[in-house]
């Protein structure tokens, strides 16, 4: 293909059509196009194509099934009032969970089931050992760097002291052959172990589908969620309602 002296104008003609030029640039294009039949044809072709695309390919609206699914899901969401006090956000979150809990899901656990057992066992063992933390600190700026060099991912370490869930430290555990981070929080007399590891595809899908959740296993309250590519699994001897509170605060920005 031979060099086209007008080539520099092509993207400008397109940008003009797309409304991306300043008035001065657009004027420059107009002057050139007025005196150049080849560029005038390009401009006409681009405009013609636009008219056809918009006229002949009407936009697909969302289907009724999708609208219904979204509306239903939204109605079941725990809502947080924009200006609500913290206490009321607790209440509405818990209310939302109660509402959502009426929609119980049957979820094939695949290998996550075995992992769940290991996590509960690790929690119990840590309690029995009397050494639930390897780094003891309520300061997340102390706990977070402690993980450097021990794991290759960066789990969220939250300061939830004001919410009644003080951080007491962290440790690592080997679960299913991989090293996972454990952030340890306290709720009154109970410890909450939050295990964290990089999410696998399956877990990300479960989370994306809203299949993560709270529950119980072997008498312990559990919660699983995914955030920023990391799967978190909390295990505690505290009760399920407290776990829901904890989760609500964990997610607060």
């Amino acid at each position: 293909m031979q060099a086209d002296p007008c080539e520099e104008f092509h993207l400008l003609i397109q940008a003009d059509l797309d409304g991306e030029l300043t008035a001065n640039e657009a004027a420059e294009v107009a002057v050139h196009v007025a005196g150049c039949p080849a560029c005038a044809k390009i401009q006409a072709d681009l405009l013609g194509l636009r008219l056809r695309l918009r006229a002949e390919l009407p936009r697909a609206a969302a289907g009724a099934a999708t609208r219904a699914a979204v509306a239903k899901r939204l109605a079941a969401m725990p809502a947080r009032p924009r200006t609500g006090a913290r206490r009321s956000s607790w209440a509405s979150f818990a209310g939302g969970i109660a509402l959502a809990a009426s929609i119980l899901l049957l979820v094939p656990m695949v290998d996550l089931d075995g992992t769940g057992r290991e996590l509960v066992a690790a929690h119990v063992q840590a309690l029995q050992s009397g050494n639930p933390v390897a780094v003891e600190s309520s300061d997340r700026h102390t706990v977070k760097p402690w993980f450097d060099g021990k794991i290759r991912f960066s789990p969220a370490v939250k300061d939830l002291t004001q919410d009644g869930f003080p951080l007491i430290g962290g440790r690592t555990e080997v679960i299913g052959g991989q090293t996972v981070a454990v952030m340890v929080y306290r709720r009154r007399g109970h410890l909450i172990d939050v295990f964290a590891w990089p999410s696998g595809t399956l877990e990300t899908w479960r989370a994306a589908l809203g299949l993560d959740g709270t529950g119980t296993r072997d008498g312990f309250a559990t919660a699983t969620w995914v955030s920023d590519g990391i799967t978190y699994h909390a295990v505690s001897s505290t009760d399920g309602a407290e776990m829901v509170h904890f989760l609500g605060h964990w997610w607060e920005p």
Binding site: L47, R82, V107
Partner: protein, 181 residues
Amino acid sequence: MVILSRATPPIDRARFEAEILPHLDSASNFARWMVRDPGLSEDVVQEAMLRALTYFAGFRGGDGRAWLLQIVRNTANSMLAQRQSQPQAASDEAAAMNVADPAHNPEEAASAMQGAALLARALAALPDELRECLVLRELEELSYKQISEVVGVPMGTVMSRLWRARQALLGADAGGAAHAS
């Protein structure tokens, strides 16, 4: 099998309804042209909306439509990847897309239908990276900056992809009447 209840972060529902929900049709249209399969695209949109609800707590405001379309794009790509190994009904792609309603005159209608079907087929046949940019610009009327956000490429790349997409469609012109002049 284990029974779980759903747990998602608490969100400001009114804000979601004001800033994200109005773009549901955009999401649907974009999904349809991305996956080119009406059944799958419905799944993609539902899935994308669930993800949007899940991630909304992390949405810091700004362009809700670009934010949602980005989620749609990621969702479509991951669902397409999951279906990768399964056979596709590629030949029906264009036929599956809705084309313009027939005009009043039956002959004109037949001709218009054919033109629209050819145009739909040509668009559906574009490489993914060109098609998504063109759909976002021409059908969703996004700016270069918004497209750059959704697709995750620099604006210069958006411009060159749009140019290539348009030239490809103008060149395809199989049914004649490339432009209504």
